[in-house]
Structures are given as structure tokens and as C-alpha cells.
């Protein structure tokens, strides 16, 4: 019964996800791309933030590495972004390895880790602003080529939609694979009690570095994708700390323990902010962020584990209650 429900749910989800572009509604498509990208970056952040419990406020470094690598290579050397993406991802992994090497090894955890990554992101912004080849403070414009597969440019938005959809699916699968494997168990252990995990022989630093590098890898690919989608990048909006915060919100709101958490969180935030924009127009500036802020406060104060966990707990209680009711009723029937 439960298994059949699950199959139905999956089929409906797949049909909706794949069929969305056929609605031919550019507003819905744009919103869906924005929500999926948000979900993707939140999934990338969640590998370190959720699974290892280390809050990175510097994922913009990796997003920037991806965006700048693919864009720079394309503009200067004509290298296809399809190749540039991997160069950016490689640079991001190396950066994450270096950052992880110093921070994790020196036992900078929790708030310290958050603040070091925040400071490093700020440094990345200043550095890029001072490199003329990367466009300095003005940023880089990618020349428009119309539909050119080699240049990863498409006039139809639905192509971008399918790309980012595939990225979300891969990121969600990667998270689940890690979580269910040996590494996932070790991460659970070190997140809940690092000393205990260390005592039983969990290589804490190596595991943290692993997920941080994977997180950087995914973030950089996302950065390249976004650069190709908007065809413009600049240091201020790439490395802004509000961006780093934006990409961790969906995971927090949705839940960090299950792949669906960041995705549900992203769609919730996107839908809420877009309806606010539709309802009030552009007259109230910053309204989506106000709502984001309130949602985050409410979720942290009320649910602790995010919406997905809250629903799971509610469902379980509901089922238990139903089971209890049937037992009571059966006993009453039997005694009567």
C-alpha cells in the first residue's frame, strides 16, 4: 500500500518535472529554473553544512571559481564552457582542499569555521576586483551567440531548465549515496559527537575534507551554469555574503537530513517570494528577503529539524495514533 503510494508519487513528480516546459509559460519556467538552481546550491552546501554539521559561509568562493573559470577561458581562449566547467570544478576542489586542510586540521569548527569562510569569501571578492583580466570590479560579459551548443548557449529556456533539473537530480542522488554509505555513518557520528567519533577511529578531518571538496565541486559547476544562463558575472554579486546565506536557507528551512529537504525548502522560498512580488509588485523593496528571514526564524524556533522532519514526525504520530485507535476499538469489540 505504502510502496504503491510511493510509486504513484514518483511518477507524478517525474511527469510534472519533465512536462513543465510544455506549459509554454515563461514565468513558470523562469521561476522553476530559479528554484531548481537554489535547490542545487543548497544541496551542495548541505554536504558540509548538513551532513558534516560545518556551516560554510564561503561557498561563494567555489561558485565564483566555477563562474570565472568557464567564463574567462571562453572569452579569452575560446574554450568551450563544456570544458571550462570542469576546469572551474577542479580549481574549486583544490581551493576546498586547501581551506579544509587548514581549518579542519586546526580544529576550527562551528562558528569559527563559519567566520573563516566568510572572511575568505570577502578576500576572494577583493582579489578578483584587482585582477584586470577577470574584468576587475566591473565583471565579465559573455558574448551572446544565440543558440550555440558548443558555447553552451540556448535561446530556449527549456534547455537550461533540463540542465539544472539534471543537476539537482544528480546532487540529490550523490547526497543520498553518501548518506547511506560508510562515510554517511561516520559523518553522523562526527556531527553528533566529534570526540566520541574520533575515539572509535573515525578519520574526522579526512571525512570533513571529502564532503567539503564534493560540495565545492558541485557549487562550482552551479556557478558555471549560472554564468552561462545570465551571461554576466561580477565580483560584488558573485561573492556577496548575502548570496552565501541565500544558498543555505533552503536546506535549513526544508531540512538537512534528507535530499528532499533543500529542494522543498527552495521551492517554498521561491514560490513565497514570487507570490509576494506578484501581490505587491516592485513597490515594496526587499519584501522576499523579509519573508525569507521570518520563515527562517519560524522554522528554527518551531521545528528545529526543518519542514521535512517536522512532516515526518507528524506523519509518524498520525499513524501511531491511528494504529492505537484501531487496537482500542478491536479490544472493545472483543470484550463486548
Amino acid at each position: 500500500m505504502v510502496a504503491r503510494n510511493r510509486v504513484v508519487l514518483w511518477v507524478v513528480l517525474a511527469v510534472v518535472a519533465i512536462g513543465l516546459p510544455w506549459l509554454n509559460n515563461s514565468f513558470i519556467l523562469t521561476t522553476a529554473i530559479a528554484a531548481l538552481y537554489l535547490a542545487y546550491q543548497a544541496l551542495a552546501w548541505n554536504l558540509t553544512g548538513g551532513l558534516a554539521g560545518q556551516f560554510s559561509l564561503g561557498n561563494t568562493i567555489f561558485i565564483g571559481a566555477g563562474a570565472y573559470a568557464s567564463t574567462y577561458l571562453f572569452i579569452t581562449f575560446g574554450v568551450s564552457p563544456w570544458i571550462g566547467i570542469w576546469v572551474g570544478a577542479l580549481i574549486a576542489v583544490m581551493l576546498a582542499y586547501l581551506i579544509g586542510l587548514i581549518t579542519f586540521r586546526l580544529n576550527l569548527r562551528g562558528l569559527y569555521f563559519a567566520m573563516v569562510t566568510l572572511a575568505l569569501a570577502e578576500m576572494a571578492q577583493v582579489l578578483v576586483e584587482n585582477v584586470p583580466a577577470l574584468g576587475g570590479a566591473y565583471g565579465l560579459l559573455i558574448p551572446v551567440r544565440g543558440t550555440d551548443i558548443a558555447a553552451m548557449q540556448f535561446e530556449s529556456r527549456s534547455v537550461y531548465y533540463y540542465i539544472v533539473l539534471a543537476m539537482v537530480v544528480v546532487a540529490a542522488m550523490l547526497m543520498t549515496v553518501i548518506q547511506r554509505g560508510r562515510v554517511g555513518l561516520m559523518l553522523d557520528g562526527l556531527r553528533e559527537n566529534e570526540n566520541a567519533a574520533r575515539a572509535v577511529g573515525v578519520p574526522v578531518v579526512r571525512n570533513m575534507q571529502l564532503v567539503f571538496a564534493l560540495s565545492a565541486f558541485l557549487a562550482a559547476i552551479g556557478g558555471s551554469f549560472m554564468a552561462q544562463y545570465t551571461l554576466f558575472i561580477d565580483p560584488k554579486s558573485t561573492f556577496a555574503w548575502t548570496e552565501a546565506v541565500l544558498f543555505l536557507l533552503p536546506a535549513i528551512v526544508g531540512g538537512t537530513r534528507h535530499w528532499s529537504g533543500p529542494i522543498i525548502g527552495a521551492f517554498l522560498l521561491e514560490v513565497v517570494s514570487d507570490s509576494a512580488r506578484l501581490a505587491f509588485g516592485a513597490s515594496v523593496k526587499g519584501l522576499p528577503q523579509i519573508i525569507f528571514g521570518i520563515v527562517v526564524i519560524l522554522v528554527v524556533m518551531r521545528t528545529r529539524g526543518g519542514i521535512v522532519e517536522w512532516c515526518a514526525v507528524w506523519l509518524r504520530r498520525h499513524r501511531l495514533l491511528a494504529a492505537a485507535h484501531t487496537t482500542v476499538a478491536e479490544e472493545r469489540n472483543a470484550s463486548a
Binding site: 566568510l118 555574503w241 519584501l287
Partner: protein
Amino acid sequence: MQTVIAQALVDGLLNAGIFGLAAVGLTLLFGVMRVVNFAHGELLMVGMYISYVLFTTFHIHPYLSVFLVVPALALLGVALYRFLLRPLAGAPESSQLLVTLGVSMVLQNVVLAIFGADFRSVMVPVANDAFLVGPVVLPAARLYGFIIGMGACLGLYLFLRFTDFGVVTRAAVQDRTAAALSGIDVEKVLVISAAIAVGLLGLASAWLMPMVYLSPAVGHVYLLPSFIIVILGGMGSVRGAIIGSIVYGLSQSLGAVLVPGSLGILVPLILFVVLLLVRPSGLFRGTV
């Protein structure tokens, strides 16, 4: 060149007063309730807008507006503690981080919705006054800011060091349970600390008004420096925050003149990262 460096030293020192006011509050909050307040910069920004509105509507000089801004912000601090931080006592530290992040988003964007993103400033004569000491210029507003800022920081330090309430606060910082068991009203300590920590931002905002252009994003300019100062000095240490703000101010102003381009901003950041790696506990340990 010597003049330039002397000027940079003076500028750095003068900036330390205002940085100190923000950092001392942050370190106090961390000390007594283990909260790193990501809304600290935005609370400062809100104080500046209150001061701005008082100036534009009632023509109250920013320096006089402290008498209204400080109580208003102290009240905000108590509300923040009472409604958001107290219910989260005992929750993982990430919960407090996220809630204060949420508060900072709400505050920044509420101000954006009301006032827009335009830069604003108040025109008061003091903004153009300056004293000359040899070849070095001491802008009056910065000098007053330094005197008030450092004065308030030192006052808080002496208060925590030598008064009965200070002893009680330090006891609550060291071991909350033991303090409560020996009859200390820890709840009162926390409320008063929140009021002081955020109230000091009111002082800072009034004294910043003649020197800065106001925008809803201005809080972020002070957030990262405050964090850096707090960590430099040792989290929870008021004395450390005072020294840290001087170190930060000097590294910032010297970096700006000695390093080409806008790369000078990197100097305090590098200092911060290196110090974290070498001595993560900061320069000073302890509660005051």
C-alpha cells in the same frame, strides 16, 4: 611618506573607537549567552536610521539623539533576547546563528522597504571640522567618536571588573549553573547584558552619523570587522575587544596606504585568518 604613515596611524586609532563599541557588545553577548550575533551590524544600522529620522523630522543633532537611540536599541536588544534567544537556550549553536541571520535579513530589508536604497547623510557643522596637529589632520567627528567609543568601552571594562554587578556577570559567564546555584539571578544578568550590548550600538550609531553615508547595507561594513576584532581579542573578552579594535583599526588604515589598489582591505583579513590559525583563542582569555 612619513606624514602619510603618521596620518594613517592616527586614522586607524580614531576608527578604533567606533569599532570598539560594536565589538565590545558582540563579545559581551558571546560571553554571557554563547551567541554570535549576526544581526549586530543591522542593529547598528537601525540605530543610525533612528538617529537620521530624529535629525530630519525634529532637527535633533545626532550627538543629542543618543538619549533616545540608546534606550531604543537597548529595548531592541532585550526583545531580541527575550523572544528569540532565550527560547533557544540549549539548542545547537547553529540555531542561534540562523535566527540572528534571519533577524539581520528582516531588519535590513524592512529598512530598505521604508527608506529605499538611496545613500543618505546628515549635514551638521561638525562633519567638516578638523584639528591640525603638525601635518596630521584630526577630523573632529572622528576624534569625538574615538573619545566616546573608547571611553564607553573602558567604562564597561571597569564596570565589569570592579562593581558587584560585574562580578555577578563574570560569574554567570564562567559557569551559569554554578552562578545560579549560588543565588545569582542569571536571568537578570542576561537581560541587562543584552540591553548593554545592543545599547552600545546606539551610542556608536549616533557618533557615526556625521561621518558615513547611510544605506540599508551599511551594517555589513561593521559586521565582519566586529567579528574579526572579537576573535582577535578572544571571544568573550572585553579587554581583548578594546585592544583588538585598535589592532584592527591600525591594520586597516596602514594596509590602505601601504598596499596598492583596493588590496589594502586584505591586510586585516589576512591578519584575522593567520591569527585564527596560530592562536584561535585570541589574544586574551577570560571573561573581562
